[in-house]
């Protein structure tokens, strides 16, 4: 008897969710950060609707503090799949006075993204926003539903979530409310890498070991860039590193690594004893940092 292996089952589950979104919502959008999880989402969406085009535009919330590699990769991907790209800009939100830039050494635009995201969802009239969050990456995300209801303020109410059984998803909502949908909820970091390797998906160079100017803060290596205020004692040095997650430059830690191929990354991920988001300074602001941001409408 043919056995459906674990990657195929995860793939089928994610494709099923994406097709449910296309069928149950009128105007959905795929949130694209440039990281491997959102790249995986774009590939799965391509497969789900082949040979038709991906029926969702890609929404990138641009903090203005990106790694340059992320933008190059994004534009190439959009061209390859003939997708439509929508950009929500944190800089514009700052210019319009909707949010204020954080000050101090740990200033980051990560939190400001929520406002830009909710603005973009409201302006685009989107009733569902697909995201590449996974339950294994963070404890608040572990409680997230596939179809996650948001009120008219974009807020998440974790204690009052709709139960999800079998493969039946309830997308009913009132005017002005929307859903966040997470098709790859059940994938782990290792599953993502194994699948990207199997499908031979080209990936941003940031994921592979390269030499970069870095400095150390609170035990985490950060890439040196003009957007971070360094303390006088923080010295810049060269190191061979790679990213395990890709976010805004101000909060994405880099790791010492020699992994230059996807196979080497899989080996590294399957033996590491540190979590993927361990280098994310945005998660470490408090024990419930992610839950607090998610309640307000963060990714």
């Amino acid at each position: 008897m043919r056995i459906v292996n674990h990657l195929s089952e995860l793939e089928s589950e994610s494709i099923y969710i994406m097709r449910e979104v296309a069928a149950q919502f009128d105007n959905s959008v795929l949130m694209f950060s440039g990281g491997k999880d959102s790249i995986l989402m774009v590939y799965l969406a391509y497969k789900a609707f082949f040979p038709a085009k991906i029926p969702f535009p890609l929404l990138h919330i641009d903090t203005g503090h990106n790694f340059p590699e992320t933008l190059q990769y994004r534009d190439k991907l959009v061209e390859q799949f003939g997708a439509k790209l929508v950009i929500g800009s944190v800089q514009e939100a700052i210019d319009q006075g909707l949010v204020a830039e954080e000050k101090g050494f740990n200033a980051s635009r990560n939190g400001l993204q929520t406002t830009a995201l909710l603005e973009a969802i409201e302006n685009g009239n989107y009733d569902a926003a697909l995201g590449g969050a996974r339950r294994d990456e963070e404890k608040a995300r572990a409680k997230e539903r596939f179809f996650s209801h948001r009120d008219e303020f974009g807020q998440w109410d974790p204690k009052n979530q709709r139960p999800e059984l079998w493969n039946l998803f309830n997308s009913r909502k009132n005017m002005g409310e929307h859903f966040r949908v997470f098709p790859i909820s059940n994938w782990t970091e290792l599953d993502v890498w194994q699948y990207l390797a199997q499908e031979e998906v080209p990936l941003p160079s940031l994921y592979f070991a390269h030499e970069r100017e870095v400095f150390e803060r609170d035990g985490t290596l950060l890439a040196d860039c003009e957007y971070i205020n360094k303390r006088p004692e923080e010295e810049v040095f060269k190191e061979v590193v790679r990213c395990r997650t890709i976010g805004d430059m101000t909060c994405t830690g880099v790791w010492r690594s020699d992994a230059t191929t996807v196979e080497e990354i899989i080996k590294e991920v399957s033996t590491t004893r540190m979590t993927e988001r361990g280098g994310r300074t945005d998660d470490r602001r408090s024990e419930s940092s992610m839950e607090d941001r998610k309640k307000l409408g963060y990714f």
Partner: protein, 421 residues
């Protein structure tokens, strides 16, 4: 996390229980021994445990993800945990065991292949054990594994183990469970969890991890009755694929092969399968739970909510549905003559509650025909009538085409879930 080499597929299992019966310790051990707890995670909960003045590291902090759960020291919601060994990937749906969380147990059980039931060897079969077993049986979890825990506290006594095994077997004979296994363990010391116990030479069965890695789950799906609920129609509208019309969906039962004669419900039109497109291109057949796109020889009218089946093996097409309902709504009880939105496979309709037959006591299995007020966490046998025909199977035959949910039209909440009798 371990890279999976000999892939035995994805196994989902459910646990239920309170802190005292060693559930968290057992999950913690499975995760820790399979190296699925990361050092920084471990250090973080070590710090919190210390701050709270707890003895040792509280592994429950790993699964309790919400602030309220950590503050109150209880699991409110279903927590999903992931680990893998070189043989398999596992998803644990960890649910609270108290009666007020029956709906969470039901949720976790709905997709599980295996129910892991923990019994404290000193206490034997208690109400919570029974409740968990009854829910596993109602939700038709294909395999039960009963771990008789804390064997170290009874000197690893075979006699004690046999006594509780017999007790459970007697109780389970009233249930609809097929495959039950028993394992004597000590979650605290690791006996028979990942490695064989040196203290119980009388036990000849497998360890818990070995069981989980090797239990045969491919037949957990219905592989006989062909069911393909149409989810979405793929029409590219471009020159290259001008006349392309693909029916996208996830196989809910049976094997669909190219060349098969099929019939579409509700229209009753016949055709043949021209091709099947999977994620790697064309494939000759499709089995559950694969998501594929089916193309037919003839251009017939099919839309979302229709079902592709075999001419000689069809589901029941009916508006009158006999279901076992578990009620989920905290605020309102199930209303006789109440109207709800019903979702079944890829169909949505409205329905009315025609009759409440009885309430099922979740601890004794007795039927109460007098008190028919159905509140949150209650389970009841109900007749309902839908506005249009649904294509249903008995839940026992097929968990996908035999399940429904009910939605309150005023609040949009999912208020009830049902298994077709």
């Amino acid at each position: 996390m371990k890279e999976i080499q000999n892939d035995n597929g994805l196994l989902r299992f459910t646990t239920a229980g309170s802190v005292d019966d060693g559930k968290s310790t057992l999950i913690g051990r499975l995760l820790y021994d399979s190296k699925s707890i990361y050092q920084d995670q471990y250090e973080a909960i070590e710090k919190v445990s210390e701050r709270r003045g707890e003895e040792g590291v509280n592994l429950a902090l790993l699964t309790d993800g919400l602030k309220a759960e950590r503050e109150q020291g209880i699991t409110i919601d279903v927590a999903y945990r992931y680990f893998s060994t070189p043989k398999r990937k596992f998803i644990i749906a960890d649910t609270p065991g108290h009666i007020q969380y029956t709906r969470n147990m039901v949720t976790g059980a709905s997709t599980a292949n295996v129910a892991l039931i923990l019994i404290d060897v000193r206490n034997g079969v208690i109400e919570q054990t029974k409740r968990h077993a009854i829910i596993s049986s109602l939700l038709q979890i294909p395999h039960l594994v009963v771990c008789i825990n804390k064997m170290d506290l009874v000197n690893y006594s075979q006699e004690q183990y046999d006594k509780i095994k017999t007790e459970f077997e007697q109780f389970a004979s009233k249930l609809d469970v097929v495959d039950v296994s028993f394992i004597p363990i000590s979650a605290l010391n690791g006996d028979n969890v990942v490695s064989r116990s040196m203290n119980m030479s009388w036990y000849e069965g497998s360890t818990l991890l070995y069981y989980l890695e090797n239990v045969h789950i491919a037949s957990d799906h219905n592989l006989i009755d062909n069911r393909f609920p149409v989810q979405y129609i793929i029409r590219p509208y471009n020159d290259e694929y001008h006349d392309y019309r693909g029916y996208a969906g996830r196989v809910a039962g049976g094997t669909f092969s190219v060349g098969d004669e099929v019939v579409a419900l509700p229209s009753g039109f016949h055709s043949k399968i021209k091709s099947i497109q999977g994620s790697k291109g064309n494939q000759t057949d499709a089995i559950p739970p694969e998501s594929v796109t089916i193309l037919l020889e003839d251009d017939i009218d099919i839309g979302r909510g229709d079902m592709i089946v075999r001419p000689n093996n069809q589901p029941e097409v009916t508006q009158d549905i006999d279901v076992m309902i578990c009620w989920f709504d905290n605020n309102k009880s199930l209303l006789l003559s109440g109207k709800y939105v019903i979702r079944h496979s890829t169909q949505e309709a409205r329905c009315i509650i025609k009759e409440i037959k009885y309430k099922l006591d979740i601890e004794t299995l007795s039927r109460d025909q007098n008190n028919l007020v159905i509140k949150v966490n209650d389970i009841a046998r109900v007749m309902l009538r839908s506005t249009k025909p649904l294509f249903i199977d008995a839940y026992k035959q097929n968990r996908i085409t035999g399940s429904i949910i009910l939605i309150d039209e005023a609040t949009n909440n999912t208020v009830g879930v049902g298994m077709v009798i």
